[in-house]
C-alpha cells in the first residue's frame, strides 16, 4: 500500500514538474521570439524603405554556406526528434550535438569568407544586419549546445521521467532556434 502511494505521488510530482517546466519554457521562448521579432522588424523597415536592396552597391553573399548551415540545423532537429522517441538510445543526441557544432563551424566560415571579401561589420547597413543577426543567433546556439551537453550528462546517468521532461524542454529550445535560423536564411540570404 505504502509503495503504491509513493508511486502515485511520484507520478503526480512528475506531472507537476512537466507542466511547470513547459509553461516556463514556453514563456521563455516567447520572450526570445520577441527579441528576434524586433530584429526582423528593424530589418523589414530598412528593406522596405530602401529603394534598392542590397543598398550601397553591395552584392548578396553567396548562398552556398548559408544553405549548408540550414541543412545542418534541419538535420540536427530531425535527429533530436529521433532521439526523443527513445531517449535510451543516445546516438540521436550525439548526432544533434555534432551537427550543432557543424552549424557553428559553417557560420564562422561564413563570417570568414565575408571578411576576406572585404565586407566588414562596419561596411554599411546590410553587412551590419548579416553579422549582427547571425551573431545574436549564434550566441543562442552556443547556449543551446551547452544545454544539449547538460542533457547528455543527465541521459548518461539515468532514464527517468525527469530526464524525459528535460529532453522535451531542451528540444523545444533547439527546434525554436532552427526555426529562427530558417526565417533569417530566407529573409536575409534568399529574398
Amino acid at each position: 500500500m505504502a509503495i503504491v502511494t509513493t508511486k502515485k505521488l511520484m507520478s503526480e510530482k512528475d506531472q507537476g514538474q512537466e507542466i511547470i517546466s513547459s509553461v516556463a519554457m514556453i514563456v521563455t521562448l516567447v520572450s526570445f521570439a520577441m527579441l528576434f521579432a524586433t530584429l526582423m522588424m528593424g530589418f523589414a523597415m530598412f528593406r522596405i524603405t530602401s529603394p534598392v536592396w542590397p543598398p550601397a552597391g553591395m552584392t548578396k553573399p553567396s548562398l552556398i554556406l548559408p544553405s549548408l548551415s540550414t541543412l545542418c540545423i534541419f538535420l540536427s532537429s530531425m535527429s533530436f526528434i529521433w532521439f526523443e522517441k527513445n531517449i535510451a538510445d543516445k546516438r540521436g543526441l550525439i548526432v544533434t550535438i555534432v551537427l550543432g557544432f557543424g552549424f557553428m563551424l559553417i557560420q564562422s566560415l561564413l563570417w570568414h569568407s565575408l571578411s576576406s571579401q572585404g565586407v566588414f561589420v562596419s561596411s554599411g547597413i546590410f553587412p551590419s544586419i548579416i553579422y549582427t543577426f547571425t551573431w545574436i543567433h549564434a550566441a543562442h546556439i552556443v547556449a543551446a549546445i551547452s544545454l544539449l551537453f547538460w542533457l547528455l550528462f543527465s541521459v548518461l546517468k539515468e532514464n527517468t521521467p525527469k530526464v524525459r521532461i528535460q529532453a522535451s524542454n531542451v528540444g523545444k529550445f533547439w527546434h525554436f532556434l532552427g526555426i529562427v535560423w530558417f526565417i533569417m536564411f530566407v529573409t536575409i540570404f534568399v529574398l
Binding site: E12, Q15, A24, V27, M34, L35
Partner: protein, 576 residues
C-alpha cells in the same frame, strides 16, 4: 491547483544562506525592497538637483554642491544636468519602482497570497536579484568614467546616444546595465507567470486571486513579452557603439550605407508604452484590494476590474505610436494611434468607477495604507485625465515638448506608483518584518508627500501649458519664459518639501524594524491567505497548504456569526 507536493525545506542556518544568497522568496523580496529604496533616495537627490537648477539657474546647489561640482563653485554644469535627468529617469523607472513593486512585492506577495510555499524556481529567483545587483554596479560605474554617465535622456534616442552624441563609455555601460536588468526582470517574469499558473492553492480559481496578484501577473506577462524588445534595441545600440554597425546612423553621421535613427524610437516605444503599464498595474492591483479591505466591503465588480486590467494590458501593446506624433508620422497612422489610445480610457473608466463603487457607503478605516490608496485614486484620476490631451494629436503637437508631458507622466507613473508602493509597504510591513509601523508618523508622511507632489506636478503642468520646454538646461534665456521663474521656484520648494517628507518614512521604517510593536497575525482584519499565518511569515509559509473556498474580498457580510466582519478565504462562503 497544487500539482505536486511542495516540500518544506530546512530553515537556512548560516548568515550567507539566510540573508545574502537566499532562495526564500520573502528574503529576496526584502532584498529588492532595500535595493529599490536605496535607489529611490539616489534618484530623488538627482531630482532635487534638477529642480534646483531650474528654479535658481546659476546658483550653487546648497550643502553638497561645492563638494560635487568644485570646478563650477557648486553650480550644476550643463553636461551634468543632462546626465542627471537621464539617470533620474533611468534610476526611478528601472532601479527604484521596478524593484520595489515588482521585485519586492511581486516576490513577497505572489506565493503568500496564492497559498504556495515558494516560487516554482527559487534558484532563478535568487539569480534574478543578483543580476539586478550586477546591473546596478554597471550603472553606478558609468558615473566614474572619464566623460561621466549616460546623458542622452532615459529614452536614449540616437543620435544623442550614438558615438556622435555621447562619445564616452558611460552610455555603453548604461546600455549594458539595462540589458542585464532586462534579463533579470525577464527571469523574474517567467518565474511569476509559471508560479501563478501552477501553484495556486487548491480551490483558487483565477477570479479568486486577490487583485494584487492579477496586477502582478499581467505585469509579468508584459515584462516577458516586451523587455526582449528593449533588449534587442539596446543590443543594436551597443553594436553601433562598439563594433561600428550603422543601424541608427544616418546622413553624415554614417560613414557608409545608411541606418535610421527613428528605428530606435519605434523599438523603444514598442517596449516603452507597455513599460508604463508594467509599472502601474501592480499599483492598481494593490489599490483595488486595499480599497475593499479598508472600506470593509466586497470589491465592487472585482471580476470587471480584473478584466478591465486585462483589456488595458492587451490595448497597451498597440498604442505606442502616440509617443511619436511629432516624428513626421503619416496622419493616417497618428489618427489610428490616437483612436486606439483613446480606447484605453474605456477599461480605465470601468475600473475607476469600480474603485469609487467600492468606496461608496463603505465604513472606511483611515489607516495609513488606506490613505495612500485613496491618494492613488486621486492622483491617478488626475494623471489619467491629463493623458487625454496628450493622446489627441492636435493638442499633443503643442504640448509634446513641454513640461506638461513631464507633469502628466509623473502624476501617473511617479505619484501613483510611488503612493501605491508606500501603501503596499505600510500594508505588508507587519507580515514582512513582524512589527507594526508607527501610524501617526505614517500619516504625517502621507500628507507631506501628497502636498509636495501635487505642488510639484501640478506646477509642472502649469508651466508646461505656458510653453516651458522640457529638455533645456536654462529655459530662462528665452524672454517669454522668464515670467515662469516664480512658479518654478514654487515647484522646487514643493519638491524640497516632498523630499523632506520622505525622512519621516525612512525614520519610521528603520525605527519600526527595530523597535516597532509586535504585529499580530492579522492586524488589518482581512481574509486573504497570508493573514492566517504568523507574522513574520515562517520560512515555509504554510505548514498545511490551505484549501480556498471563497474570494478575497468577503467583508462586511451581516450574516457572519463569528464576531468578525470578514471571512478568511479558507472558510465556506456565508450567503448574504
Amino acid at each position: 491547483m497544487a500539482f505536486f507536493e511542495q516540500h518544506i525545506h530546512d530553515a537556512p542556518k548560516t548568515f550567507l544562506s539566510k540573508y545574502v544568497f537566499s532562495f526564500d522568496h520573502k528574503v529576496i523580496g526584502k532584498q529588492f525592497l532595500w535595493y529599490g529604496i536605496a535607489f529611490l533616495g539616489l534618484g530623488g537627490m538627482m531630482a532635487l538637483m534638477i529642480r534646483w537648477t531650474l528654479a535658481f539657474p546659476g546658483e550653487p546647489f546648497p550643502i553638497v554642491g561645492q563638494f560635487l561640482f568644485p570646478q563650477t563653485n557648486g553650480v550644476v554644469p550643463p553636461d551634468t544636468y543632462a546626465m542627471l535627468f537621464t539617470l533620474h529617469g533611468t534610476i526611478m523607472i528601472f532601479y527604484a519602482i521596478t524593484p520595489i513593486l515588482i521585485g519586492a512585492f511581486g516576490n513577497f506577495c505572489i506565493p503568500l497570497l496564492i497559498g504556495a510555499r515558494d516560487m516554482v524556481f527559487p534558484t532563478l529567483n535568487m539569480l534574478s536579484f543578483w543580476l539586478a545587483f550586477v546591473s546596478a554596479i554597471l550603472l553606478l560605474a558609468s558615473l566614474f568614467t572619464p566623460l561621466g554617465g549616460a546623458a542622452g535622456g532615459w529614452v536614449s534616442y540616437p543620435t544623442l546616444s550614438t558615438l556622435i552624441g555621447s562619445p564616452g563609455i558611460g552610455q555603453t555601460l548604461w546600455c549594458l546595465a539595462l540589458f542585464v536588468l532586462g534579463v533579470s526582470s525577464t527571469m523574474g517574469a517567467v518565474n511569476y507567470i509559471a508560479t501563478i499558473i501552477t501553484l495556486r492553492a487548491p480551490g483558487m480559481g483565477y477570479f479568486d486571486m486577490p487583485l494584487t496578484i492579477w496586477g502582478l501577473w499581467l505585469t509579468a506577462i508584459l515584462n516577458a513579452l516586451f523587455l526582449p524588445v528593449l533588449g534587442a534595441g539596446l543590443l543594436l545600440l551597443t553594436f553601433d557603439r562598439v563594433f561600428g554597425t550603422t543601424f541608427f546612423l544616418a546622413g553624415a553621421a554614417a560613414t557608409s550605407g545608411s541606418g535610421d535613427p527613428l528605428l530606435f524610437q519605434h523599438v523603444f516605444w514598442i517596449f516603452g508604452h507597455p513599460e508604463v503599464y508594467i509599472l502601474i498595474l501592480p499599483a492598481w492591483g494593490v489599490v483595488s484590494d486595499l480599497l475593499s479591505f479598508f472600506a470593509r466591503k466586497p470589491a465592487f465588480g472585482a471580476k470587471a476590474t480584473a478584466l478591465a486590467m486585462t483589456t488595458i494590458t492587451i490595448l497597451s501593446t498597440v498604442v505606442y505610436g502616440h509617443h511619436m506624433y511629432t516624428t513626421q508620422m503619416s496622419p493616417l497612422l497618428t489618427q489610428s494611434f490616437m483612436m486606439l489610445t483613446m480606447t484605453i480610457s474605456i477599461p480605465s473608466a470601468v475600473f475607476f468607477a469600480n474603485w469609487l463603487g467600492t468606496l461608496w457607503k463603505g465604513s472606511i478605516r483611515f489607516h495609513s495604507p488606506m490613505l495612500f490608496a485613496l491618494g492613488v485614486v486621486f492622483v491617478f484620476g488626475l494623471g489619467g485625465l491629463t493623458g487625454l490631451y496628450l493622446a489627441t494629436v492636435t493638442t499633443d503637437l503643442y504640448l509634446h515638448d513641454t513640461y506638461f508631458v513631464v507633469g502628466h507622466f509623473h502624476y501617473t507613473m511617479a505619484a501613483s506608483v510611488l503612493l501605491g508602493g508606500f501603501a503596499a509597504t505600510y500594508f505588508w510591513f507587519p507580515k514582512m518584518f513582524g512589527r507594526m509601523m508607527n501610524e501617526p508618523l505614517a500619516k504625517i508622511h502621507f500628507w507631506i508627500t501628497m502636498l509636495g507632489l501635487n505642488g510639484v506636478f501640478m506646477g509642472m503642468m502649469v508651466v508646461g501649458y505656458a510653453g516651458m520646454h522640457r529638455r533645456i538646461y536654462n529655459p530662462f534665456v528665452y524672454e517669454f519664459l522668464q515670467k515662469l521663474i516664480p512658479i518654478n521656484m514654487f515647484i522646487t520648494y514643493s519638491a524640497l518639501l516632498m523630499g523632506f517628507g520622505q525622512l519621516f518614512f525612512v525614520y519610521n521604517f528603520i525605527y519600526s524594524l527595530v523597535k516597532g510593536p509586535k504585529a499580530s497575525a492579522n492586524p488589518w482584519e482581512v481574509g486573504t491567505l497570508e493573514w492566517q499565518i504568523p507574522s513574520p511569515a515562517p520560512h515555509y509559509n504554510f505548514d498545511v497548504i490551505p484549501v480556498v473556498k471563497c474570494g478575497p474580498h468577503e467583508l462586511g457580510n451581516p450574516n457572519l456569526k463569528n464576531g468578525r466582519d470578514f471571512q478568511y478565504q479558507t472558510e465556506e462562503l456565508v450567503e448574504v
